[in-house]
Amino acid sequence: MNLTNSLTSFLGSATIEASNVDPTVNLPVAASGVFSFMWLLLALPVLGSALLLLLGKRADKWGPIFAVLMVCGAFVVGLFLYFAMLAESANDRPVNLHMWDWILVGNFEAPIGMQLDQLSMVFVLLITGVGGLIHIYSLGYMKDDPDKRKFFGYLNLFIAAMLLLVTADSYLLLYVGWEGVGLASYLLVGFWQYKPAAAVAAKKAFVMNRVGDVGLSIAIMLMFVTFGSVTFTGVFDAAPGASESTMTWIGFALLLAACGKSAQLPLQAWLLDAMEGPTPVSALIHAATMVTAGVYLIVRSGPIFDAAPAARDAVMVVGAATLIFGAIIGAAKDGIKDVLAGSTMSQVGYMILAAGLGPVGYVFAIFHLLTHGMFKANLFLGAGSIMHSMHDQLNMRRFGALRKVMFFTFLTFSSGWLAIMGVPPFSAFYSKDKIIEASFSVNFWGGLAALVGAGITSFYMTRLWTMTFTGKARWTEDNQHPHESPKVMLFPMAVLGLASLAAGFLLAGAIETWLAPVTGFEEGHLPISSLAMESISLTFVLVGGAIAYLQYRRGVPITPPQHVSALTVAARDELYGDAFNEAVFMRPGQWLTRSLVFVDSKAIDGIVNGTSAAVGGLSGRLRRIQTGFARSYALSMLAGAVLLIVALILVRM
């Protein structure tokens, strides 16, 4: 393998003949050579999590380091695989590793197998790379937690599940990874489960994700019924033959799944609560990787959405709505992680929007996913660093002037701040602008949403940056001595800070070629020139940022002002997402549950007990006929004789 060659192509200068690649038939070949070891990707983190969780206290000492090594090992394996893949021609890159037969019932077949293609590869590197960094960061962040070993066990479990999600060769196995990351998320959000809020948030996240999983289940069932297969190849192979209505149903079901996992409307409400988890978790799961699984799912299912325009439009609408929705929430929250969570929702909205554009947008959805994975992880780690030094203070109204005491964090954070706003040459400038352009080329309103979203993004991120780092210190008495974080935390931040700066520039263009065999790629046609478009969006960004800076540079009151616009009130309340769920699902659900409990005990069981009571009552009454008087017994006998006679005569008649 030619390392130099590979590196060059990683940097975007490799030339790949995208023209002779037919995206619809991108059949994987059986894995051989390096690829036959790709099971190590899964095995290493699985081993890590199994040892850490099963050995119990015995693994306390070496466990965290071991977990870090496992993830880094997986990253190394990922790199090897990447270079091996580079060495192949574009058509031969997808490989499949069949491991064992999983479910074989009748004509239902689901193997346990891995499929690694260009799309999966991108994810593998992102997951193991960012994952590895966050593992390292956690060594510092979780240093004093008594349950550190478990934390790393769960993190490894998450990495394993996430890798399974992106390397599965069938929808059913993807589903395993899909719920696996849900489980890891549940465990990690609820990691400090002695805090009721954490426990509730964890449960809420899992349950809302399950609503999405219903969609995934139904999609898989529809696929099996329609195509007789649940593997990617089997489904995509037969996809052209299916009717549009079937495909639309499948598409909608997949969209539901994506909404759950990626916190898109209407299943967005769990994400802000999930911030109860430790900050590295927020960085890894609720920013960089898991929440983007929905995007992966939709892009992966491109052939299905290609055949289902209505479903694709719905994807676009959901993405556009969520990106605005999340941005508005981000603009009103005071908790630093809440702002970032709203931002994540919004940025994933961009990706979903892009994925809803079809081949025009798939690549940019993934591109933005990558850059977002880096800069948002960076931002979260920065936030974690701040919290670390501020005794877990989250409220930005208590921050201010941190630039002076945490200069390094300030630097990396600023890199992320500029990246997310899309200031050139920071990363999102390349990815987000492409999405805005592609959106305008497909649908004006979608483009407009993306454009306005960029402005709001700029506003809330600048607000956050200003409130945190500039102005006067608003620290409370017990937080007098903020300090910079240890090196073990700073190192990942540094790497991600650099990535936020450079990733867009490095990947732009190359990624389109790289992913073309999987996603197909079409150039969008804009009514105006690309440069003009970039200028417009940059203007939005600058205006949004300027407003925020001017408004907040003098500092803010420690208590949030009460007399604010209705929109602010609503945004502080997450645009009533929870209130909506509570009014529409939770309260009626509780009422239904309570009434069913009543119905079950009083009506259904009541019939049973009532019958028995009635028989008992009958018995009590009938007993009275047995009066104890011999003559009444004789009368009864006479009555019996009459009864017999009547019966016999009736029969005769």
């Binding site: 059986a30 019932v105 002695y194 999983d213 329609t226 195509f227 089997g234 659900g589 549950t593």
Partner: protein, 525 residues
Amino acid sequence: MQSFSWLTSIILVPLVGAVVLMLLPAAKTELAKRLALFFSAVPLLMVIAMALQFDADSTAEFQFVESYSWIPTFGISYQVGVDGISLILIALSVILVPLVILAAWNDADDAIGSVKGYFALFLVLETFMIGVFAATDVFLFYVFFEAMLIPVYFLIGRYGGPGRQYAAVKFLIYSLVGGLLMLVALIGLYVASANELGEGTFDFTTLTNLNMDPGTQKLLFLGFFIAFAIKAPLFPFHTWLPDAASASTPGTAVLLVGVLDKVGTFGMLKLCLPIFPAASAFYAPVIIALSVIGIVYGALLAVGQTDLKRLIAYTSISHFGFIGLGIFAMTTQAQSGSTLYMLTHGFSTGALFLIVGFLMTRRGSSLVKDYGGVYRVAPVLAGLFLIAGLSSLALPGMASFISEFLVLVGSFEKYTVAAVIATTGIVFAALYILLMYQRTMTGPVIDSCKKLPDIRGREAVAVIPMLVLLVAIGFYPKPVLDVINPAVDRVMVQVGATDPPPTVQPASESNAEGSEATGEGGAGQ
């Protein structure tokens, strides 16, 4: 005929154990417990030995067949044999009983009844459970089916907690109503066979080949079905279960819900469908509707429970809805899924009940409100509870996911709407399990739980094997499915059902080959 009477021996060993236990002096409780464990371990080893000789691809319907004339006057024989489905359920029984005995080690120490009696009843119950699954004579099946009531009646009534008398009587009467209706149908079946063959019989295989007229089938089917629906229990015949499960000891509850209730679904699959194919097809829509109602209804009620044992009982009602749905959807996937479901539900619900039992021995209550923050004081216990719960909510990767998904996908082929509604059950499942976990295990430690000790060795040995099996089968179900599939295929033939083919064929022949190559690519190269 086998050279060694495997099944009869397996049936008799626990019974012998029960007799030995009863002959012990009442004071020797420790010896009684050990003997009980021994006499329940022996059948487990024997079943393993038997299963190793089981030929999944055999053309014979039953293997290890033994047949002796018993009551020739009514064409009754003592006739036992196993196919894939019954083997799985026998395995479930013999695995659960020793684990339950281990877990229930100290359950009976303060009961009205004697300790040896408690364990002897378990062993008697084991005999009947194995017998009911092994019987290939319908009358013998019925005998075991009804006889099982008695040990359970005593286990609930004599060793249970508050409300045990009410629960025991309710269980008995409910079961007897069903059982006796089944008796009528059994007699009807016998008379029908006598009318057709000249001489009545209860032989299962012969009965499946009868040409009963649909009218008779419909009536007789009801007799069998109601009995099984009560036993299973399907909505709306379920109200005895929460009472019985919450009043009995956890060990009893495990066997009650884990194995005994499976007799109902087993009967639907192995008796109702093959013997009454026309009636099964006729009633299938109604039963599927009831099953789906049961899935949602049981789940919603589980959410609303305040008692852990009742809660788990209601989750079981929901799960039995899935099993019923799968059986009557009449596709290969659904029925295999249902069969596997019977196994996985036995383990996951068994583990849940046992862990609740461990909690009860520590805290003396099964009310949700009496627990809080247990995770802090007993992390391993809480962790096992969570794993069992995750299995109960059919987390992918657990065996219960495979069974539930197979049921859903199999039902989806023929009853799309029902399957979709049933799929919403997975949301409720997440809700009731995690809500229960949240309320009992997480949050700050409440005062009464501050001194709860973590799991003990004996308890861990009782629960962990179930969870290990669930994970192992979850990723490698092939050995189990290979045993189940041929038996299910046979049921499908007997009931005359076929799987609908996929609506869309692959785009081209070459592509089809390509997709196959993907499936087996790794092995191919």
